[in-house]
Symmetry: C2
Subunit: 189 residues, 2 copies
């Protein structure tokens, strides 16, 4: 998606080997006008697939999930990472490794909000090794719901997540795929 | 706001003394149509105040902050709770106590995204003892920016956060204020 790629090129920063910072518009400061456009794009791609729920993971997936959901007129569920008094004890859940935080955490979704009849679109800001998406996929399977596709804002094409998902026959829509990044240099596939 | 109160009465659950669960529409599953309406309401109340940024805290403030920002046409910044390779080292920050998680955590905002010229609206899903809002207020002060007001979806009127903020002359707009909650019984002010 050209609009997104231009924004990555103008504002993205690669300070160290494999981390692209786009925190001026995507995952710290949020450009809501841009994200609404990205959400509209995802919604257009999935408009005739009968999506009933959008599933994401806190925290940086929430914004793009919400804007996509607005255009598809379906609810968002965001999987929770931490123990909280606000979450039901009766949950689907799994362990996920976070690359950017270098630790494992438990991801959970209340059983109230995922049913066997649900057709689910996973939305997230980044796809790298795919650990978060595979965790969400496992939660969808626990609920016996259907995973229809995965919408990603920025896929790191040089890491294996996208390939692993597509090899399993899972539809993955990435709005920008990075071929390589290094300080001062961002190349798309 | 009547629309919100009706939703709280029909779907809110009080399982134990002072915790209201509204995770069917606000902070786990998200009803994006409702939140867009709530965001429109906040935007209407602050439309002539020159807001330049909306500040919230991950994770459950992000959705309502984004919908409010869409109507005000300003960016959102969400303060981060955890260490991450994606966050600049040069940040404003403070310690905040989480009531629902019963622990202290560090809250940070990159110095890139808050300037002295910013007029900031804080948005969050809940206001209880006010610890999160006071933390965000401190970050705004560190940036020498201006706190214009605080928009809250649900204020627990029986806890002291709202009173403490208003006593300091801070404008607080809560769309629903709870007078008391107990299992099976929710009363608004």
């Amino acid at each position: 998606m050209q609009l997104l790629k231009e924004r990555i090129l103008s504002e993205g920063r690669v300070d160290r080997e494999d981390i692209l910072k786009v925190d001026s518009f995507l995952n710290h400061q949020i450009d809501v006008t841009l994200l609404d456009e990205l959400g509209r794009e995802f919604a257009g791609r999935y408009e005739n697939t009968g999506i009933t729920k959008i599933l994401t993971i806190e925290a940086s997936g929430i914004a793009i999930a919400c804007f996509t959901a607005s255009h598809l007129h379906v609810p968002v569920i965001f999987a929770k990472k931490t123990e909280s008094k606000n979450l039901d004890s009766d949950t689907y859940g799994t362990q996920v490794y976070s690359y950017t935080k270098d630790k494992y955490y438990r991801v959970r979704v209340s059983k109230r909000y995922l049913q066997q009849s649900d057709k689910v679109l996973i939305i997230d800001d980044f796809l790298a090794n795919g650990k978060a998406v595979f965790g969400l996929k496992e939660i969808i399977e626990q609920a016996h719901a259907q995973l229809v596709g995965v919408g990603i804002v920025i896929e790191k094409g040089f890491q294996q997540g996208g390939q692993l998902l597509r090899e399993q026959g899972i539809r993955v829509d990435s709005l920008a795929i990075l071929k390589s990044i290094s300080p001062g240099r961002i190349i798309f596939e």
